[in-house]
Amino acid sequence: MSFSLDRRGLLKSGAAAGLLAATGAPLRAQPKSGGTFRLGLAGANTSDSWDGRTHSDSFMIILGHGTVFDCLTEVAADGTLKGELAESWEASPDAKVWTFNLRQGVTFHNGKPFGADDVIESLQLHTAEGAKSAAKPIVSAITEMKKLGDLQVQFTLASGNADFPFLMSDYHLLMYPAGQVEEAMANGIGTGLYKVESFEPGVRALVSRYADHYKTDAGFFDAVEAIAINDSSARMNALMTDQVDAINRVDFKTESLVRRNPRTEVFEVTGNQHYTFPMHTNTAPFNDVNVRQALKYGINRQELVDKILLGHGAVGNDHPIGPANQYFADDLEQATYDPDRAKSLLKKAGLDSLDVALSASDAAFSGAVDAAQLFQASAKDAGINIEVVREPADGYWSNVWLKKPFCACYWSGRATEDWMFSTAYEKGVPWNDSYWENERFNALLLEARAELDSGKRRDMYREMQQLTKEDGGTIVPMYANYVDAHSTKLARPDVIGNLWQMDSSRITERWSFA
């Protein structure tokens, strides 16, 4: 019997997940247990709650699915999928019917045992009448949820989706105790490694290690204190003066201080987070692919990475798939700054010069207005005159994005190619911010979704990335790194997750004191 221990095998059958856990030889000595881990986190709001449907900012993402709650599946630090509350899973050949086997002997923090009913009720929360869940599209694709046994659930999907187990790792899809959901959301009762001691929205949260947890190789702290520090200088200060052990979102301007300090270290990863300039492909002049291409060659990507991200990023290639995705095609020809080529493309479109307005605001991403101005300067040499329109940050997402034909935008990326493409590039979806419609692309999208063969999927997703790059209406000039920092009192794992900031937001689970 041979198992290939990559995503391919795991996707088809979660049985390998158990094997992975069983055979995975420890790469380092068992981390030391104990201590109170103090976290200084940006991204906290007074509107925070334990309702996973509303989680959107880093404080609750880290505390929710990373600390107090669990999902059915989990993306490991190296990007492979493994079981969390589900032990294994099995798909029908058309990837339409999925059977999940749940872990035995799991209990919620209030002592209630975890089972199939909890899964069904927790997922139904997202499609309930009037629910405002960001994960609604994932759950509404499930046409039927059947309890086959206390520890077995079967999902029937509207159409085949090979990524379904991946989607179950989404941080919105937390598992709550059935029949006690309201109480669980009020007090934070989950199955995670830590149970809630106290929680003040927008201020702090204190959690302590849950003694009988099923994960034996994770959760090394006795307690975790998460302190909301939205002000970036205060956050940097707190780390430098040893008030906290780790912080997220390092301020690039003062990052060198952290590097200079012998007691602190910066850790950064390039993930899927990327900044974009979407153009409406149904509006002149962007309806001409030559114009779109000219603009793509008129932007100096390396300059943007150097000056806007101060080096904390990588150049993008006009498609939204990033290094944290499994089928990221890094062998495509890299688009570079080439004003002559841009000029000849304009000529092909029958134009001598081009005048366009680019709407930007720092609400899109930090430094967006500066980025637009750099774009303006570099495009000038290609005969493209960009007028930078500075838009107000308030109401940017409702008044500018999707409405102005050329603007600045950001995406945190998605764990799977299909999810990302069907969120913002599929024909007719509400967030298709370039109004792009490509027949071949949309056909491939459906085909790849239901394909279980990993090799075929790789080819299809490669072609789709190529299509987005060559025909698409979105300029993706750069990937922005997740830059966080920690005290040297902590032991850093060998591999750091790049799906979200703070080790894919599982720092409380995977890290320990040195």
Partner: protein
């Protein structure tokens, strides 16, 4: 007594006007709660759903009087953000802010009075000049700058106090005091100059009056002249300035709270404005306005009590 009642009634009217202005100002901000909370996900349907749920689709006039009606009965409504009652959310924050103001006042008021009296006593000496210069410098610098200087000297270079005011209700008094020290010292530096200079000016003013000359002529020591004879008569203006500064300690701490991440009303206020959580913003503003009105009232009453001429009107 009738004066107090009259002032209280005036205060209520002021509060009403303040609430009107605040409501109008919040209405003028671009974007509402629904758009802010949804961000990139603000599709027209989602925005409409949230607006309907919170009653934001009604006219501003209806909303204002609805809110006013329940506020008069002591019900400040529920927060848009997390559906918790405003009072429940505000109470611990207000307690924290009061604690900080109290600590700052306990340091600043005696300090300002003592320096003020000494400066008056040794007028135009080196001490007077140094005291004036330092307090004026600290009041003239922006608060966040003073705060960072204190962090640099008292937290980074000499770790005496923590730079982060991580306050929670389960802390004992001394830990809490320790963690409140840096913001309190920042506020002290900011408010001392005003009070100290008023003390100095009021006393110097009195020192020119004939009765002080008389006291001096009969051989009373300079210190006794000031403390026993001049200070009681200078109390009224000093009390007024102290009241004004105490009000500032409660309402003006927004920046200091953000720098030290102190969980007080100011930070809640900023967070709520950011997401357009109007019930909380309104309640915060009312608290700020009420603080000013009450402290001013107290100052007036106290100046009457300290002034026999006003206490026994002819």
């Amino acid at each position: 007594m009738s004066l107090v009642a009259k002032r209280l009634a005036l205060g209520a009217v002021t509060l009403f006007v303040v609430s009107l202005i605040i409501f109008g100002a919040v209405e003028l901000l671009p974007g509402d709660f629904a758009e802010e909370i949804l961000g990139q996900g603000a599709t027209p349907e989602a925005v409409a759903a949230i607006r309907q749920e919170l009653g934001l689709d009604r006219t501003p006039v209806t909303r204002y009087f609805d809110w006013l009606g329940s506020a008069v009965q002591g019900d400040f409504g529920v927060s848009f953000g997390n559906q918790r009652s405003v009072a429940e959310q505000l109470a611990p924050r207000f307690g924290n802010t009061l604690f900080l103001a109290l600590v700052a006042a306990c340091i600043a008021v005696p300090l300002a009075l003592v320096i003020g009296v000494l400066a008056a006593l040794y007028r135009n000496s080196i001490f007077d000049k140094v005291a004036n210069m330092t307090t004026l410098t600290s009041i003239s610098s922006p608060e966040f700058f003073v705060a960072y200087i204190l962090i640099l000297f008292l937290a980074v270079m000499n770790p005496v106090f923590p730079s982060l005011s991580n306050i929670s209700s389960d802390l004992d008094f001394w830990t809490r005091l320790d963690r409140t020290m840096l913001p309190a010292l920042t506020l002290t530096l900011v408010v001392t100059a005003h009070m100290m200079r008023m003390t100095r000016a009021a006393i110097i003013n009195l020192l020119a009056s004939p009765y002080i000359e008389m006291a001096r002529l009969k051989g009373v020591s300079p210190a006794r002249v000031i403390v026993r004879h001049a200070l009681p008569n200078a109390l009224a203006p000093i009390i007024n300035v102290i009241a004004l500064n105490l009000a500032y300690l409660i309402t003006g701490v927004v920046v200091v709270e953000v720098v030290f991440v102190y969980p007080g009303v100011g930070q809640l206020f900023v967070d709520s404005v950011k997401i357009r959580d109007i019930p909380i913003v309104q309640a915060c503003c009312l608290i700020f306005a009420a603080t000013y009105i009450l402290l001013n009232l107290t100052a007036d009453v106290l100046s009457i009590i300290t002034n026999p001429r006003l206490r026994h009107p002819k």
